[in-house]
């Protein structure tokens, strides 16, 4: 009850916030969230997202690549998956060993502003989903800030948080590494993907979400407001 009321209010305020008028996409995104809050997740369009960065600190590290894959009415759509590389100031450095994107690959990369614009466009009628959403959102917000859109209010579904709740309901403590994407997937007997690639991880996250929602009682019985969080 409270959750719903709070999300409702928050979104209403955001929609009427003039500062955000700069981005119609963002407005539409909020509008979409607002109208869908009460709907079952089986009717909702999600956008599973994963960002590879040069490090974990949004203040000094940069985004390297973004992968997105939509989930429409409970079906993952690989055909509409997209992947963007971002231009960066420095070098990918050591992080290349993790995400496999090397400086030489970034020749075709786009400016951060372009990519953020594209991302907002992609999610105007979708709900963001990520594993450990906080990190991704921090980077996006930081990028938005640079573009002069001072947003501190993005909403997303976090598969890591969902998993954490599920485990806590069963036992008292969580072991180190138990919430990693692949560890979570193993619990649902989902195949393990080796590549640390933004798009693969987005897919992995999308599949995990479907598995979690099914285990939580089925897509028809969960409403968006039950799982959406503000960041």
């Amino acid at each position: 009850m409270f959750q719903k009321w709070w999300l409702n209010n928050k979104l209403k305020r955001l929609i009427s916030n003039n500062k955000l008028n700069k981005s119609t996409h963002l407005q539409r995104h909020y509008q979409y969230l607002f109208t869908q809050l009460n709907k079952p997740v089986s009717d909702i369009n999600f956008l599973a997202l994963d960002i590879e960065m040069t490090g974990l600190d949004h203040k000094k590290d940069e985004m390297v690549s973004i992968g997105i894959i939509p989930i429409i009415k409970g079906q993952i759509q690989p055909g509409y998956a997209q992947y963007k590389l971002l231009k960066i100031q420095g070098s990918v450095g050591q992080s290349a060993t993790i995400h496999g994107v090397h400086d030489r690959d970034l020749t075709t990369a786009l400016d951060t502003s372009e990519v953020i614009e594209w991302l907002l466009q992609q999610c105007q009628d979708k709900v963001l989903v990520a594993h450990h959403a906080l990190l991704d959102i921090q980077f996006i917000e930081h990028a938005l800030l640079k573009l002069g859109i001072p947003v501190h209010q993005l909403f997303a579904v976090d598969t890591l948080q969902l998993e954490k709740q599920r485990i806590y309901r069963k036992k008292q403590f969580i072991k180190n590494g138990e919430l990693r994407l692949n560890a979570c997937r193993e619990r649902y007997y989902l195949p393990i993907y080796s590549a640390h690639n933004a798009l693969t991880d987005a897919l992995a996250c999308a599949e995990l979400l479907l598995a979690q929602l099914n285990k939580m009682g089925g897509l028809e019985h969960i409403k968006l407001q039950d799982i959406l969080r503000k960041y």
Binding site: Q75, G79, Y83, A204, N214
Partner: protein, 614 residues
């Protein structure tokens, strides 16, 4: 585009038959049309939208296809498919798909599926075969055991076609280039005729016509064809009925291959009927030994043609029977006719008709009366010859010496009656060990009436003999299926070496034991386990659910054992009854556990029913 292609999906599809036959570009195209859905056990059924048919590709999880009446048609695990039947037959899907284990499923839209079938014939053939197999599972229980191999396994892989307006000259060139004896005449992908080398001779050369003649005028129009999901047997039948040697193989009204009488002959060289025929014609032991070397190949072929395990058992046993009969006949040619009536008996697996690789021989003689020294010598020579010959033909001596060459088992009918009567009256451990071998008996050669008298009398003694049946049950319960307390597999070890699960002794043998007890308790004269079950069910002597479950479990375990042996044979390993659970897919493990559980339940049932314990 390149960057947004999803590596894990592509990797999976690329390795998945039949997609592995497709071009890389086509697979990528394919991947982009997929959608991914997660199915959870809680949903119970996969909701199949009949208006929007699609191919369901199982990425993880396990599913079960059954008819609306609930009859199981197929179990589907990782890397397998469902939903293709409707698209192939064009009928609305009425089958139900149950979700056994949660999992991811890729949906491939019908448009893409049809496009792939159109563009790749291996792809199309794969699903046609799968569909045919499914139909068989659905409809037939008691097919003729002999011809289980499908024509798809033997037909030529390449299809040589020619247009009707090409010239005879072109056709002849093509035939000699491709070294084929026939051409399929195709007009806009539709079959319109067949041109064989016989046609060239009789319709062109014999009439003195020239090479500029069109193919259409010399070909046989609307030739007899055969569907790709047919059996070799059906192809043979069609050829001999129509006196032809070539059959275009059709799939969905399109020719996909041609099958010739040569193909059939080549395939039949290790086929059972032919093998039996060969056995019957061999003049001496040496040639029989040579012929019997084909038996492992026959077994391997049968396994790879995906025949039912019970059928394979019947086929192999019919070969052994023929071999035994031929050997007796050969020796009798030399020894002269028998001095008295006798019957050559087989016991154990040969009697039950479930012989598999490496089965040893269990046999004996019933004699009409006591023998004189002279007569005894005759039977000694005969039985020693046959047993030794069988040994050389690949049926090793019985380690327990239960063989016709052992004088202990050359008994008169009276002696046999007493022997059985003793076992039944005093079911000590030796008697019970013998029971599992001797009480499954079948006549192979000679005077059947001797056998009939013995069997009738034995069954009369066992029927309603609660004490004997209780002792048998007690004995059968000594060995239990290899399932631990928490439904985990119990693995046998030999010192440090992990041997795995003994599918024969901890699986099929237990079911045979259980069913034998039931059969003896009501006096059923069948010895084959599935036939016994059939009779028990008609006499309501067994709980129908348990009976049907046992039948399924028997077939499943035997099938797993055979495919495992086929793999071992193929990789030139020692063929054994052991299987490692790790080598099975999660679905197969699940099914194997179910099968063992069925045995466990049947054992508790006989414990209550015959031992009055629980």
């Amino acid at each position: 585009m390149d960057n947004s292609e999803l590596q894990p999906i592509f990797d999976f599809m690329r390795k998945l038959a039949p997609f592995d036959t497709l071009q890389e570009q086509t697979i990528k195209q394919c991947c982009s049309t997929l959608t991914i859905v997660y199915y959870s056990k809680a949903q119970k059924l996969v909701h199949v939208d009949t208006n929007q048919p699609q191919l369901y590709i199982v990425r993880t999880g396990a599913f079960e296809v059954s008819t609306q009446q609930g009859e199981l048609i197929d179990r589907i695990g990782e890397g397998q498919f469902f939903g293709f039947s409707g698209m192939l037959s064009g009928e609305k899907v009425v089958n139900q798909v149950h979700i056994l284990e949660d999992g991811l499923v890729y949906h491939l839209p019908a448009s893409m599926f049809d496009q792939l079938r159109g563009s790749c014939y291996q792809f199309d053939r794969f699903f046609n075969r799968a569909f045919a197999k499914r139909l068989r599972n659905q409809s037939s229980l008691d097919r003729n055991a002999i011809d289980t191999a499908r024509i798809t396994n033997i037909m030529s892989k390449e299809l040589t076609t020619i247009a009707p307006d090409a010239t005879i000259h072109d056709a002849a060139m093509l035939m000699s280039n491709k070294r084929v004896s026939s051409l399929i005449v195709v007009d806009q992908k539709q079959l319109c005729g067949i041109l064989t080398d016989r046609d060239l001779r009789s319709r062109v050369l014999a009439k003195g016509l020239g090479g500029n003649l069109s193919v259409a005028s010399a070909m046989t129009q609307d030739p007899t064809t055969i569907e790709s999901n047919s059996l070799i047997f059906e192809a043979m039948l069609k050829m001999s009925e129509n006196n032809i040697h070539h059959l275009p193989v059709m799939s969905h009204n399109k020719p996909i291959a041609i099958i010739t009488s040569t193909d059939l002959i080549r395939s039949q060289s290790s086929q059972p009927l032919l093998l039996i025929g060969q056995i019957q014609r061999q003049p001496n032991l040496e040639s029989l030994i040579q012929v019997s070397q084909k038996i492992p190949d026959l077994l391997y072929n049968l396994i790879s043609s995906d025949a039912k395990a019970s059928e394979i058992g019947r086929i192999l046993t019919s070969v052994t029977d023929a071999l035994t009969r031929r050997l007796i006949a050969l020796k009798q040619k030399q020894l002269g006719p028998e001095p008295m009536r006798f019957c050559w008996l087989s016991f154990g697996s040969q009697a039950r008709q479930d012989q598999m690789a490496g089965s040893d021989q269990d046999n004996a003689l019933i004699l009409e009366k006591e023998t004189t020294e002279q007569e005894a010598k005759y039977f000694k020579q005969l039985s020693e010859y046959v047993c030794c010959a069988l040994n050389e033909c690949g049926f090793p001596f019985c380690p327990g010496n239960i063989m016709a060459q052992n004088p202990v088992w050359q008994l008169t009918l009276q002696q046999w009656l007493q022997q059985f009567s003793k076992w039944i009256k005093s079911p000590d451990p030796t008697a019970l060990l013998h029971a599992s071998i001797f009480f499954d008996m079948r006549p192979i050669y000679g005077e059947i009436s001797l056998f009939d008298q013995l069997q009738t009398s034995v069954l009369k003694d066992t029927k309603n003999n609660d004490i004997f049946i209780a002792a048998l049950s007690q004995n059968a319960l000594q060995s239990t299926p290899p399932l631990g307390f928490f439904r985990s597999f119990v693995i046998e070890r030999d010192g440090r070496e992990v041997k795995g699960i003994d599918l024969k002794h901890k699986g099929n043998a237990l079911i045979n034991d259980i069913i034998r007890i039931y059969a003896l308790s009501v006096g059923i004269d069948e010895v084959n386990t599935s036939k016994r079950i059939e009779r028990l069910v008609t006499q309501s002597a067994i709980d129908k659910d348990i009976a049907m479950n046992l039948l399924d479990a028997w077939e499943f375990i035997a099938h797993k054992r055979l495919t495992n042996q086929g793999r071992q044979f193929n990789q030139a390993q020692t063929v054994s009854n052991y299987i490692l659970p790790d080598s099975l897919s999660s679905l197969a493990r699940h099914q194997l556990k179910d099968a063992f559980k069925v045995i466990y339940e049947a054992q508790s049932t006989i414990k209550l029913k015959f031992l009055r314990q629980f």
